[in-house]
């Protein structure tokens, strides 16, 4: 890519976001053909609610992948967040606010520890977040007695359940929350000093350091944000299902990474937008729903899922030819 070349409006990155959205729309049409009513307003709304959980996790994953990192601790930070939410609120609305603050604070603190390990101790992100996933899994299982504790069966506060299920101006409140997150995250990345620092660190951490950017500070904040969004997704999920369960975070690791990548965020960092991850989250969720509409068994979905991701990557995720 030469700098003198005039950038068309639909540059490579924007095209990828467009493709990811188009893939989602095509899948909606396929679904409507297989099962009429699939793409009805209520059908679309139901799929978008499920997509929002992936999308919220993907927000955090986008932040860390933009600096060439990765967060493998998503499953058990999410699960710990869900369990902490129900056990600290015990289903009372009066306790909802402190429980929310506690849960989100836990997520951010765990994420910050990830960031500190990566930035200050020089541990590879894969190892740091993998170990943190194990640590959170052990703590969650141990402290909850394997989900046998008396408060573990508590329900999410009605307020939180209402936030997922009730509608406001025709849209479920959880989608309004997601829209707010999309606006805030996109603004943060595109318009602020913090966003520009994130892209700079992702492109070249050493040059950023020499240019006076506090690289470890940025890294810690980004991982903290990832932990925050994982915990938030955990809260949303207990609001959706009412109760917490063990293993509820497991699907979100693969899906969040896939969503980010399908949305055109470069896995080695420095390029991409959260809007792309949003498109990826929606496309993936529609894909799963379509496969369910085909009555495809588990193993078939697993195979098709992998093939579709590979096909999308081969379409537009290839590296420049260096040889």
């Amino acid at each position: 890519m030469s700098a003198s070349q005039k950038q068309p409006f639909l540059n490579k990155e924007r095209r990828r976001i467009l493709y990811a959205f188009l893939a989602g729309i095509v899948l909606f049409i396929v679904g409507e053909m297989v099962r009429p009513g699939f793409a009805s307003p209520s059908g679309i709304r139901a799929i978008l609610v499920v997509a929002s959980f992936v999308g919220i996790v993907a927000a955090g994953q986008t932040f860390v992948i933009l600096i060439g990192g990765i967060d493998l601790s998503v499953p058990w930070v999410l699960n710990a967040g869900a369990i902490l939410m129900v056990t600290s609120s015990l289903g009372h609305d009066a306790r909802a606010i402190p429980a929310l603050a506690l849960t989100l604070g836990m997520g951010a603190a765990v994420g910050a520890l990830n960031g500190a390990g990566v930035a200050l101790l020089g541990i590879p992100a894969v190892v740091m977040t993998l170990a943190m996933n194990g640590i959170m899994q052990g703590l969650t299982l141990g402290l909850s007695g394997g989900m046998t504790c008396t408060s573990c069966g508590a329900y999410a506060p009605p307020v939180v359940q209402a936030a997922v299920h009730q509608s406001f101006l025709g849209l479920p409140i959880v989608l309004w929350i997601w829209i707010a997150i999309i606006i805030v995250v996109s603004f943060l990345l595109a318009m602020t000093r913090f966003g520009r620092m994130t892209y700079t660190v992702g492109n070249n951490a050493r040059a950023s350091h020499l240019a006076g950017i506090h690289v470890s500070g940025v890294t810690i904040v980004l991982y903290a944000l990832s932990g925050f969004f994982s915990a938030l997704a955990g809260i949303m999920l207990v609001g959706f299902g009412g109760q917490a369960a063990l293993g509820m975070g497991d699907p979100y690791l693969f899906q969040s990474i896939a969503a980010v990548v399908i949305g055109g965020v470069y896995i080695l960092g420095g390029r991409g937008h959260y809007l792309g991850s949003v498109a990826g989250a929606i496309s993936l969720t529609v894909l799963v729903s379509v496969l369910l509409a085909f009555n495809m068994p588990d193993y078939g979905r697993s195979i098709v899922y992998g093939i579709v991701i590979l096909a999308l990557l081969l379409l537009y995720g290839r590296e420049e030819d260096s040889a």
Binding site: G134, I135, G138, D298, Y299, L310, G317, E319, A323
Partner: protein
């Protein structure tokens, strides 16, 4: 950021051969020290809780439990050395394990032929990964994340329920429950690795892991080397699937899943650098033994099994941090 070994070796005064060999293989030296510490701690805990020395049974079961992970770690190492990562290790193990459960039931000849065919399946899986990475020009982590999903799906299609039975001869060779026969696989892996390291392919794998551009300008085909490394990794994963089936004396299309992450843990503990070009298969083998010994230690220390992953995670972090610090001190002293 540590300087490449070659620059340091050229600049400093020459030390004795032993000291030189130690600093060149600091990762391997550290994992051996770690393994010895683990074995001692294990023996102490065993004597305290069981009031006798661990015997042949403990040795045999530890060996048999470790061999699948050892091969998985070897598979991971081959790919990580090229500056890649193989998340499909668990999927290949699932797939080969499932095929083994369905096919290994005839006589010795048929069992041998099917064993070779299963290794071929592993090579094919690796070929798919390698081609997508090298010729498809996709990032290894994304390719193998996708193929993991595909391999897991095929494995469940082949073997929906755990089952099948392993012929006694097969189990007797790969995971003999009575005698610590698996001991012989340690020198075999060591010798094979030493040979591999000296073949043109082995040299090329390390070269492209250190600097693909430089390797390419020295006439090494990066694409061919990458594909072959993934294929060898696939064969090693298939070995892991076979050893797992032999040890469980049955097949299961999901028990392999955990090996994706534990193979990374074992390789990292064994001194393999995730940034490529640094590490050894022997280190990964010892890393696998350390990983299994830690679980044994936690068991005999009467740690609540619910907390097991907590201590494993802490241990992994502590080991990586300690290796970083010691590595830096050793390099600075030269």
């Amino acid at each position: 950021m540590p300087l490449p070994e070659t620059i340091l070796a050229a600049s400093g005064p020459r030390r004795s051969r032993l000291s030189h060999a130690l600093t060149q293989n600091i990762g391997l030296a550290l994992v051996v020290a770690l393994l010895i510490a683990c074995v001692i701690l294990y023996c102490v805990l065993y004597i305290v809780t069981q009031h006798r020395l661990p015997g042949g049974f403990e040795l045999t079961s530890t060996l048999n439990n470790t061999m699948p992970l050892a091969f998985a770690a070897l598979a991971q190492t081959l790919v990580v050395l090229t500056r890649g990562i193989d998340l499909s290790v668990g999927g290949v193990i699932d797939l080969t394990n499932a095929v083994a459960a369905l096919t290994l039931m005839g006589g010795p000849v048929s069992t041998t032929l099917w064993t070779i065919a299963i290794l071929g399946i592993g090579a094919l899986c690796g070929l798919l990964n390698g081609v997508l990475v090298a010729i498809g020009r996709l990032q290894p982590i994304l390719v193998t994340l996708s193929t993991l999903s595909i391999f897991q799906g095929i494995a469940i299609r082949i073997l929906p329920q755990p089952g099948g039975a392993m012929p006694p001869g097969f189990t007797g060779v790969l995971a003999n429950p009575n005698v610590p026969l698996s001991l012989i696989y340690i020198p075999i892996i060591g010798i094979l690795w030493a040979i591999f390291r000296r073949t043109p392919l082995g040299v090329a794998v390390f070269a492209i892991g250190n600097d693909a551009m430089a390797a390419s300008s020295h006439g090494i085909s990066v694409k061919r080397t990458t594909i072959l490394a993934y294929m060898l990794g696939g064969v090693a994963s298939a070995c892991a699937g076979l050893f797992l089936a032999a040890n469980a004396t049955a097949g299961d299309a999901t028990t392999g899943d955990t090996y994706t992450l534990t193979s990374i843990v074992a390789a990292v503990l064994g001194g393999v650098s995730l940034f490529g070009g640094r590490g050894s298969g022997l280190g990964a083998l010892f890393g696998a033994f350390v990983t299994v010994m830690v679980v044994n230690i936690l068991f005999f220390a009467h740690i609540d099994p619910l907390y097991q992953t907590f201590y494993e995670g802490l241990f992994l972090l502590a080991a990586v941090i300690a290796a970083n610090v010691i590595g830096q001190i050793v390099r600075r002293r030269r």
